[in-house]
Assembly symmetry: C2
Homo-oligomer: 393 residues x 2
């Protein structure tokens, strides 16, 4: 077990109907004026917008609002949100939506608190030392941004998708009602299931990843998500399954399944170049394509192999083939790939209408133009990343 | 899944040698004067005391100190600590030790911040609205107090042992180096293993406890603790096993294994009367006696039975007997009892030299002199609690 720190200060309020508490929760912190940030407007159709506004008014919370956050959230909007926070002197940002709205809010909060361009933090030019508080009413179980320290934004100039991590990115509170996710489409739900699993899988498959307690927790979380994922495909309004996915989205990315591990989100890095380049690609769908390709590239490595065998046995119930452990490992990868497929996820780039014309450029960007190598069982430079894209074709 | 809130703001710093960071951590919060609170003085023999003092001095942290915390920590000392905090105008309390030192610190912090008798909070006369910050350098993996919202103190007047819960009881930070637990005796280690398991078992066995994700996490934690418990009995300096126990102590009582469950710590309540009455009884040892007796009293209840069968199967690997599920359930309870025995724990009151002369008085106190019934599959009033004590004879 490697040294680690664990810090999850976000106050989670979870259950049926909890969104009606939003105004009272904000008031309990003493905030009087907020930015209400959201996405495409589906919260207006669903009635959630009105519920939030009613709760804010009841509690005397003044607000300005900004909608329009898109999937793979864009820098231009978070810049606009940051400026609005400064101009209107708001004290916190309320994100109502999923990971995209949260990340747009985090980026805006960083810019507003420091009176600078939010991209300075995403590009790594500046370290975040303070931010505005961000609170969430979650409507999609996927990104885990409601408890995580990460913030991922796409800069339309050059289509660079970049994440940065900071404890100052961790939301102050997260209000989570699984019922609000009943209307998430089958495809978006499947993307969410994939994203949730991937946050744990990135941590699980790392060098020195063999940490008994964290392994058991990670495997338990994965099994729960797989079970719940199957259920919601047929029964989108199954409360228990939706609740499992929603709570798992937080636990999978708040740090719990990485404790004692020195991990790196390399499939995420490789995928970011994909959904950064092709804006139509949903992050979860991109991960469903990249993970099996990455896994097939890595699993025969002698340090990786026992981890892949454990994954096959404990998560997918595959029997160990002691004579041919690589068969067990591959069977686990295929079981995972087949599960993604069963959810309706793409598992090949061709299914996303992506051919190999941009592999070189994507790999170039992923290595920061030759300035970084992704730490992995096999270090991943430009050549290796292109090989992984090729395996994903 | 029931409604829940989850709030674990404690910053955990975990790994080899991390105790040397204590001064810098305290300084990072801006504190200048603290109370350094500890136990019997074993930290002086081990050299930890000197390491802490050096780190405090290096970082310019002024401190007053108070040792002498005993197992089942006493109100008289936490009163003294509270007064010292007030007189010396300290800004936070640093607890160096295990659960007893932490709870003594929490109690003192409550009294000091509110300029009142700490017992007011333990007795339920007053609700805690603010407290002094408490930080920990942990030396025993057991109570989980380093992340928990609970504080248990024994009032020597009447030997009343009472706990109370409040988010204000949650420590600000916890510095956790598993190496510091290498010298904990076999007996105390076994008490710790039992206590850790019990914090999850209390949550696991509750009405409406059937929460898929939380179940998987709880079962994974229990399996890890059982594995690690076996290892440390033979190899007290096994870093990985000590690390598992230390991290599990926090996760087992910070709320994680109770999410979505409406639980009650009834074995703890029943045990508190035992170690409250007989000060020689270590809390963990008391639990090792009470849990099997409680479980044998409860398991045939029709709502409890499926939970006990799941426990037997998933935690102890016992095969399900579909014709006689009660046999499966009982086998699980016995496996747990035998595990406690294998650690050298007592599993009967007679092994603690406790006879039935005080059962009536203990049960009387446990029901707050007839004013409460413990919520359970079978509601536990005085008569039922005496039956459980009798099963534990």
């Amino acid at each position: 077990m490697e040294q680690f720190s664990f810090y999850t200060p976000t106050k989670v309020i979870f259950g049926k109907g909890v969104q009606s508490q939003v105004g009272a929760v904000i008031k309990s912190y003493g905030f009087k004026k907020i930015l209400f940030h959201y996405g495409s407007g589906s919260i207006k159709k669903s009635g959630l917008y009105d519920q939030i506004v009613a709760s804010l008014r009841e509690n005397g919370i003044e607000f300005v609002e900004l909608g329009g956050v898109q999937p793979n959230p864009k820098l231009s909007l978070s810049r606009k949100a940051a400026q609005l926070c400064i101009d209107e002197k708001v004290e916190m940002i309320l994100a109502v939506g999923g990971g995209s709205v949260l990340d747009s809010s985090k980026s805006a909060a960083a810019g507003a608190a420091n009176h600078c361009d939010p991209w300075e933090f995403s590009s790594g030019a500046r370290v975040l030392e303070k931010s505005l508080p961000v609170g969430a009413v979650l409507t999609i179980a996927a990104a885990g941004s409601e408890m995580s320290d990460s913030c991922v934004i796409t800069n339309e100039e050059g289509w660079l998708k970049r994440g940065f991590n900071s404890d100052h990115n961790r939301p102050l509170f997260a209000i989570m009602n699984p019922e609000l996710t009943y209307t998430v489409s089958k495809y978006q739900t499947a993307c969410g299931v994939t994203d949730i699993m991937m946050h744990t899988l990135e941590r699980y498959f790392c060098m020195n990843g063999d940490v008994a307690l964290t392994d058991h927790l990670a495997e338990g979380l994965l099994r729960s998500v797989i079970e719940a994922g199957k259920v919601v495909m047929d029964k989108p309004d199954d409360y228990e399954a939706r609740a499992t996915l929603m709570w798992a989205s937080s636990l999978s990315h708040n740090g719990l399944t990485g404790c004692g591990r020195n991990f790196m989100m390399r499939c995420h890095q490789i995928e970011h170049e994909l959904s950064g380049m092709y804006d139509r690609v949903a992050h979860g769908a991109g991960l469903a394509v990249i993970f099996p390709a990455w896994a097939k590239y890595i699993y025969k490595n002698e340090k990786a192999l026992p981890r892949f065998c454990q994954f096959a046995q404990r998560v997918w119930g595959i029997e160990m083939d002691f004579e041919h452990p690589e068969r067990t490992a591959l069977a686990g990868i295929e079981a995972c790939e087949n599960f993604f497929k069963s959810l309706g996820m793409p598992v090949r780039l061709s299914e996303l209408d992506v051919d190999d014309t941009k592999f070189d450029e994507m790999a170039e960007k992923c290595t920061f133009f030759g300035k970084r190598v992704l730490k992995d069982y096999i270090p991943l430079g430009k050549t290796e990343i292109i090989e992984i894209y090729n395996l994903a074709k």
